[in-house]
Symmetry: C2
Subunit: 192 residues, 2 copies
């Protein structure tokens, strides 16, 4: 039951956030919207900052969650790497195209929730590392340190996933695939 | 003579900019600082925006100018590519370390001068293209379109040169070299 209350609070907070922005969000308004006491809201979230962190976490989890099947799949690692990186860009592109203002707002909320972003990046790096380790096991990639290789791939694709740089311009896909072609060749030849 | 006056105006404007920031910079103050009429300043710069553009251009030109010898050098293209990319990062790192507030201010001025930044990026891409075309001519790199390859290398290294992302953290150098190792291997194998 408690989980349901938590979800209801998060959903109400997200609705008010989308309507009025983070500055105007108050725990009192969330409680009023749900017809519950603010003491009840505070039982689940110690502060407004906690509430915003949880919203950012849920938002970012939709991104990493959608990529998880690619990280866990079988099949050639180079293809999965490309699907994963293009998939990450496409999700951001879609969010920006659908509603650029909300994307900017969520990004602002996430940036304020530094611990949440760091965990999100760790999750994504873990997925990348999984794909690269599979590629090493299959002798598709000549890498000895999949975690270090994952960081290099992450850095090489920042242009296409960093919230301050990513754009919805469809031309980005071909540009990203060109970067991935270079990087994948490097992973195959044991450059790292 | 006119060039000297122009330089003197630019130097005075830069001094006042460093002292008081871009918002407070006025053509009148620049003229007063030099003991000349503001009509004389306007003979060289049509507006305050023109003056800020010229300052941004000069600032960015110190960056591209320092890399030009690497672009024009002889020798293995892979080494020149690495020197060029690491050199670009090192210049930004130095500017940030020396004075982070001034770096942020100049970056703001440059961002407002969009045409200036676009020309600067074109200059840097031209240098990269020159190195890659030399590598193709030497059969070191298997690339058919050096301009497209230059864009891919530029995108793959955004993390280490984009003013909104670049940091003075010395660990960046090893991370950049890892990205370059992957990318260079890709250029050698004809992945693009």
């Amino acid at each position: 039951m408690s989980d349901t209350t938590r979800s209801r609070i998060l959903e109400a907070a997200e609705l008010l956030l989308r309507r009025h922005g983070p500055a105007k969000l108050t725990v009192t308004d969330v409680a009023r919207h749900l017809g519950m006491s603010h003491a009840n809201v505070y039982r689940h979230f110690a502060s407004k900052a906690d509430l915003l962190d949880a919203i950012a976490e849920r938002w970012l989890h939709t991104v990493s969650g959608a990529l998880e099947p690619i990280a866990l799949a079988d099949g050639p690692a180079a293809e999965r790497l490309e699907d994963w990186a293009v998939g990450l860009w496409q999700q951001k592109r879609r969010k920006i195209s659908d509603d650029p203002e909300h994307f900017a707002m969520y990004h602002g909320v996430a940036e304020a929730a530094r611990g949440v972003v760091a965990r999100h990046v760790e999750t994504l790096l873990g997925q990348l590392e999984r794909i690269l380790a599979d590629g090493a096991a299959l002798e598709e990639f000549r890498i000895t340190d999949p975690a270090a290789a994952a960081r290099a791939v992450w850095h090489a694709t920042v242009r296409f996933h960093h919230p301050r740089l990513v754009t919805a311009d469809p031309a980005c896909e071909a540009e990203l695939r060109a970067v991935l072609a270079l990087v994948t060749a490097g992973l195959r030849t044991g450059a790292l």
